[in-house]
Each structure stands twice: as structure tokens, then as C-alpha cells.
């Protein structure tokens, strides 16, 4: 996840190099990193790859003009929510109306001649960047589980869809793990909810510590957690699952040192070649494996297999 505190990027799309220099110099002390582009086409590509927090867009450019760029930015899902500030020497009423109709966030006259021009540009950019930052914080918060700090169900749904699509498109290995704390209700009932919360938090920490930066760990709900492991096959995923399981088993909980906690894990890796599996069927396969783990005695990892006619579930250590 991108750190929320990294300097936001401002993409400047203008065909004149003088403008690149002037804007960069004037914004030097603003908390922003200026990225420049000389054309609409290049600007569009950069917007998609760099995901700037805001775009400062010239209208009068050869080739693709500002309005064409604005239309394209709004039509592309990856860039549609990036606020666009039009930067134009012309401030004709018609241009303003068109710009706002197409979804521009603001319209600033292109001039850096006077201190008031510069002050105005800075103020309007700050406002746009602040709003963007707050929206991003809000979106992030809506996807985070308050207790453990892991992603929540919403995040899992979104990320699983993404990783599944990537897998389908590029064929990289992918494994899904579902981890469920054993006898969790008993812990809550016996030692109270604060104890239960601590177990959940500690489990969240263990899961995090066993994850690589590319892995996605979420709390699915209640005492169920998921880990999406991109570029990982079942065998390597079993190693991760076992590490989590064994670490949890060895963890001492001060509130109930006599009672250790275990978890069961079901996992499903890349379907057999030639089989077509939906994202949902894949989750079901991991779930079936988890069920087998629970009913096989708990505190174990079971490997499932996603596939329309899935072979019998294999057991693992």
C-alpha cells in the first residue's frame, strides 16, 4: 500500500519547457513532486503509470489539445479520479464552461508573472491536493480492520479480484490461504472479550510478520483471516501457513498462559492447467480445505485444489 505520507506527485502537462521550469521552480517549497510532460499523449501515459495526486493541464497544445486530454483522463478508470486543474493563458468563458463540464476541478490562468499569480496557483493546488489526500485517507480507512490494522473484507474483495485478474492475464502462480482460529468462541467465553481481542490482534501481527510486501493479509471477519500470496505456488504457501501456525502455537498469552491458541488453515493454489476456475470457486476451494482442516483435528494446514471437479483434498503437515 502506498504510504500516505509520501510527497504527492503533481503531473504538469504543457508543451513548453519554459513552463516546466517555471512551475517546478515556483513550487519548490510546496510539499509536492513535480513531474513534467510535453504532450497530451505522453501525459496520459504518465498519468496512468505514475498515478499523480493532481494534474496541471495546459489547454493550448499541438497534437492532442487539453480538452482531448481531459476527456481521455476522465474516460480511463485508472485516472478518472485524479483532480485536473486547467492551466490556460486564455480564460475565455467558453473554455471555462467546457473545462468544468468535462470535469476539471479548477481553472487557473496561466501566468507566473506576479507574486499574486504565483500565490493563487499555489493556493488552488494546495486545496486540490488536500482534498485528494483526505479522500485517499478515507478510502483507506474504509478498507482497514480497526482492531488488527489488516485489510478488511472490502479490501479483500477488491484485492482478490485484482490478483485473480492478473493471474488470468499473465499466468503467474497465485495461492489463497484462509486461516481460522480454533475454538475462538471458547476463548471469548472463558477469558472474556478483551482476551479474545488480544488474541485477534496478536494473530494479526503474526500474519503480518509472515507476509512479504507483495502479500495481502486481511481479516475476513470474526476469527477468520485470509492471505493472498501472488507469485507463490501451493508448496511455498504451505511453508508460510505452517510458519504462522507454529508461531501462534508457541505464543504465550499473558491473560491465559495455560491456554495456548491454535489455528487451522485451508489453502488453494493455481488450478490445474486446462481448468477454468472463477474467483469465487477458488475461494470455495480454500474454504473446503479449511473445513477439512477443522474436521481433521484442527491445528493443521490442508491443501485444496481449485477446479470444477476437484480431486480429493491432500493433507499436509
Amino acid at each position: 500500500m502506498e504510504p500516505i505520507d509520501a510527497k504527492p506527485k503533481l503531473l504538469l502537462i504543457d508543451d513548453q519547457e519554459d513552463i516546466h521550469r517555471l512551475v517546478t521552480a515556483r513550487l519548490r517549497h510546496e510539499q509536492v513532486e513535480v513531474v513534467v510532460s510535453s504532450s497530451g499523449a505522453e501525459g496520459l501515459a504518465l498519468a496512468k503509470s505514475q498515478r499523480p495526486s493532481a494534474i496541471l493541464l495546459d489547454l493550448d497544445m499541438p497534437g492532442m489539445d487539453g480538452f482531448a486530454v481531459l476527456r481521455a483522463l476522465k474516460a480511463e478508470p485508472l485516472t478518472t479520479n485524479i483532480p485536473v486543474v486547467i492551466f490556460s493563458a486564455n480564460s475565455e468563458a467558453d473554455d471555462k464552461v467546457m473545462a468544468f463540464d468535462l470535469g476539471a476541478a479548477d481553472f487557473v490562468r496561466k501566468s507566473l508573472d506576479s507574486s499574486s499569480d504565483v500565490a493563487e496557483l499555489k493556493a488552488r493546488l494546495r486545496a486540490v491536493l488536500r482534498l485528494e489526500r483526505l479522500l485517499r485517507l478515507l478510502a483507506d480507512r474504509a478498507e482497514v480492520d480497526g482492531l488488527t490494522g489488516l485489510g478488511n473484507r472490502v479490501q479483500f474483495d477488491r484485492r482478490w479480484k485484482q490478483e485473480y485478474s492478473e493471474h488470468v492475464r499473465y499466468g503467474h502462480p497465485l495461492t489463497l490461504l484462509i486461516l481460522d482460529l480454533d475454538h475462538f468462541k471458547k476463548i471469548n467465553d472463558t477469558y472474556g472479550h478483551p482476551a479474545g481481542d488480544e488474541v485477534l490482534q496478536e494473530f494479526g501481527r503474526i500474519v503480518q510478520s509472515c507476509s512479504r510486501t507483495s502479500d495481502i493479509a486481511c481479516r475476513f471477519g470474526g476469527e477468520e483471516f485470509v492471505m493472498i500470496l501472488p507469485n507463490t505456488n501451493s508448496q511455498d504457501a504451505v511453508v508460510v501457513a505452517d510458519r504462522v501456525r507454529l508461531t501462534l502455537g508457541k505464543t504465550l498469552f499473558p491473560r491465559h498462559p495455560e491456554h495456548s491458541v491454535t489455528c487451522s488453515v485451508g489453502l488453494a493454489g493455481t488450478p490445474l492447467p486446462g481448468t477454468m476456475v472463477s474467483a469465487e470457486q477458488w475461494v470455495e476451494a480454500a474454504d473446503k480445505a479449511l473445513y477439512a482442516a477443522k474436521h481433521g483435528g484442527r491445528n493443521r494446514v490442508v491443501v485444496g485444489q481449485a477446479g470444477p471437479a476437484a480431486p480429493p483434498v491432500a493433507k499436509a503437515g
Binding site: Q16, D18, I19, R21, L22, A25, A89, S111, L112, D113
Partner: protein, 122 residues
């Protein structure tokens, strides 16, 4: 007390007064103002060549660029003259009714722009 004309300053040739950037003392701007000043001779060369070869579209583009940038670098006077030149080119290009007077205006404004650019200094 009436001033003694013999002690007054000799008449000044305005074409020789150097133009300094309004932002020359701004540490944030110093570097890029220097670049602008350093690049000026080649801009002047381009203007002269384009004029010689009567490339009106290219001349308009160069004037447009100077109009847009000069003020930012702290040379608003250059920007103003460039704006006038661009406007005249625009009018003439649209079959403006200036006739021979129009072409004279154009030449005068072009030379004024050149002269201003040559005065730009760091």
C-alpha cells in the same frame, strides 16, 4: 534653482539599457533566469532566421512562447512586445485589413522584440 544643462546626463540610447529580471535576486529563480538569459542568443538567432525565411507560423509560435514565458522569468516588457507581435501576425494571417501599414507594423514590432531580447541580461 534651474539645472545647468551642461551638467545633465547625456541622452541615453534606450536600446542599450540592459534588462534585468525582476526575480534576479530570488534564490528560487536565479538558476532558471540564468538559463533563460543564456538561451536568449539562440532564441534571437531563431527569430532572425525565421523572419528571413518568412516562416510566419513559426514566427507566431516563437512570439507566443516568449509571450507566455518572459513574464514568468521576470521580463514582462519582453512578454508585452511578443504579445503585440503575435497579435499582429494573427490579424494579418486572417487577412486583416491593415494593408501595407500592417506589414510595416509587423516589421517595427519584430524589430522591437529583437531589440528587447538583445537587452536581456542576467
Amino acid at each position: 534653482m534651474p539645472t545647468d544643462p551642461t551638467t545633465q546626463n547625456p541622452p541615453v540610447n534606450h536600446a542599450e539599457i540592459p534588462l534585468r529580471s525582476q526575480f534576479a535576486d530570488d534564490p528560487d529563480m536565479r538558476e532558471i533566469v540564468d538559463i533563460f538569459v543564456t538561451e536568449m542568443p539562440s532564441r534571437i538567432e531563431m527569430l532572425e532566421r525565421v523572419w528571413r525565411e518568412q516562416q510566419t507560423e513559426e514566427l507566431k509560435r516563437l512570439a507566443h512562447q516568449l509571450k507566455g514565458a518572459s513574464g514568468g522569468y521576470g521580463f514582462p516588457a519582453v512578454g508585452l512586445v511578443a504579445a503585440q507581435l503575435e497579435q499582429t501576425l494573427q490579424t494579418l494571417g486572417q487577412g486583416g485589413s491593415n494593408g501595407p501599414g500592417g506589414v510595416d507594423s509587423l516589421r517595427r514590432q519584430f524589430e522591437e522584440l529583437l531589440s528587447m531580447c538583445k537587452r536581456v541580461t542576467g
